[in-house]
Symmetry: C2
Subunit: 299 residues, 2 copies
């Protein structure tokens, strides 16, 4: 068909030993085998590479030239061969994780030290985007894992739950509206419900929780982050659904009242998603354990 590494390896041995017999020994084959491969190589290249002499051989000028190129190639092949991974089986190297915006700000600070514990030689690359975009990136290999609200649909994906994140309602502290606590969905004034822009799963979840999946909210500034939304709440522009994990961070910044829902409290399930074909199931499970440990304790 074409050149082979075998031919090149034998040729390199021959060039080194300058003698068919010795080169064959060095290559652990018989002299005729080496002879044949060299002949093949010469024929393939259409060039006489060696002069056969009584006392060993001599490379022709073409042979010298070819030897140089062959040596380069063999060296690179060797380097490639020596690249066999230590296959540490645990996470290492670069890991790219996508996280949805309503989780990222609150989880990342816990995630980073947690991963540092899991593996020292680990470089993290994070991407924040809405679920759909993250899933596409995951499926096309630009991400290794995604942290998003379950369920998630997509071909070839595998999922494990990390933790349950209950929803609360956030209202202005000085709000005159007196809300029963615990809250029921019927008490929510749909016109005052503030929502994230389209694409955020939390937007749909909020509408669903408040039993208004079909209707459109009149107050729709399409906020891009929970922080913006809560800023609006604290200015008494309305109320919004807030996931439990966001509460410590967001209430520290805003003067806001957090009202729980009546049982059964609505919630979202945050999960870790990866490609089944990635063959990193065990690593992902370990990662999930580490994350859920960290996320549920000392919150």
């Amino acid at each position: 068909m074409g050149l082979t590494l075998r031919q090149m390896r034998y040729f390199a041995a021959l060039a080194k030993e300058r003698h068919f017999g010795r080169a064959a020994d060095a290559a652990h084959i018989s002299q005729p085998a080496l002879s044949a491969q060299i002949l093949d190589l010469e024929q393939t290249l259409g060039v006489r590479l060696v002069e056969r002499n009584r006392n060993g051989i001599l490379l022709t000028r073409d042979g010298e030239e070819v030897l140089q190129k062959v040596s380069l190639i063999l060296e690179q092949v060797e380097r490639l061969e020596g690249l066999r991974r230590s296959s540490s089986s645990m996470l290492d190297g670069l890991v790219r994780i996508g996280i949805i915006p309503t989780v990222a700000p609150y989880l990342v600070p816990k995630l980073v030290p947690c991963l540092r514990n899991l593996s020292a030689s680990l470089e993290l690359e994070l991407k924040e985007a809405v679920t759909d975009r993250l899933i596409v990136d995951l499926q096309e290999g630009r991400l290794d894992a995604v942290i998003a609200a379950l369920p998630v649909q997509g071909d070839g994906l595998e999922t494990v739950s990390l933790f349950t994140d209950r929803f609360f309602m956030a209202i202005a502290n000085n709000a005159e509206a007196i809300l029963m606590s615990p809250l029921t969905e019927t008490q929510v004034d749909i016109d005052r419900l503030l929502l994230l822009e389209e694409g955020h799963c939390l937007r749909e979840q909020a509408l669903s929780v408040c039993g208004t999946a079909g209707k459109r909210s009149l107050v729709n500034f399409g906020a891009t982050s929970m922080t913006t939304l809560l800023q609006m709440v604290s200015h008494d522009m309305g109320m919004t659904l807030i996931p439990e994990m966001a509460i410590p961070t967001e209430t520290a910044r805003n003067d806001i009242r957090i009202v729980p829902f009546a049982d059964p409290a609505p919630s979202r399930e945050i999960g870790l998603i990866w490609r089944r074909s990635s063959g990193r199931r065990d690593e992902m499970k370990a990662l999930a354990d580490a994350i859920s440990d960290r996320a549920t304790t000392n919150r």
Copy 2:
């Protein structure tokens, strides 16, 4: 044993097509064959290179890294493969010729245009040294051919005669010694015979011609060139054997009388010598023809 180019070629095809079936088509093999080679490659490297998905495949990070190296290697191999010589069969590229010092100065000016005629794409490299040294260089591959006085002995050499070079005697023009013309060897005054330093074949030839092979010359400055020798002759320091081919050049510079020998005139045979194993017999014959043509005409 180790990596093979076959594996790499298939892997490159797979990376390009991102689909086992299509890659197999592109490589003109069956899908199982490709599959097996990829698996082999993965096992050899100890690394999973591709993620098998429902819709084509995805390279792992290791796969991307390996692909890059493999591409480089394949590119070099391709370049090497495309190097098949046009096998112009005639002389071209660099040709290294060694010439003995008593021939070089007089032949080289004729040689250069002559070779230019033989082949345009020809680079000439000349070396001047005594026969023994040239022959060693030839046998060890540092020269492609030697021009020296025949016969020459050495393993694996082939020879062809270029031309016959008669000897003359050179004496000072004002020499009081009256020499018969033509000359016979008995007329030579051994004490006045000037010789080149040891190693030059012309030295031995001169001694042989003058029938004094055994004796030592008293006048022995060990000159390193004919020109020096003839300078000495013109200063009436003695006489010396001069080959016919040197006469035009040397008599133009020195005031010298050239005396022929009686028949049968002594002479040396200049020949072209190369390694039998070089497989360039035809080229060498052609070269010899060209040289002897040029050397015998318009001298």
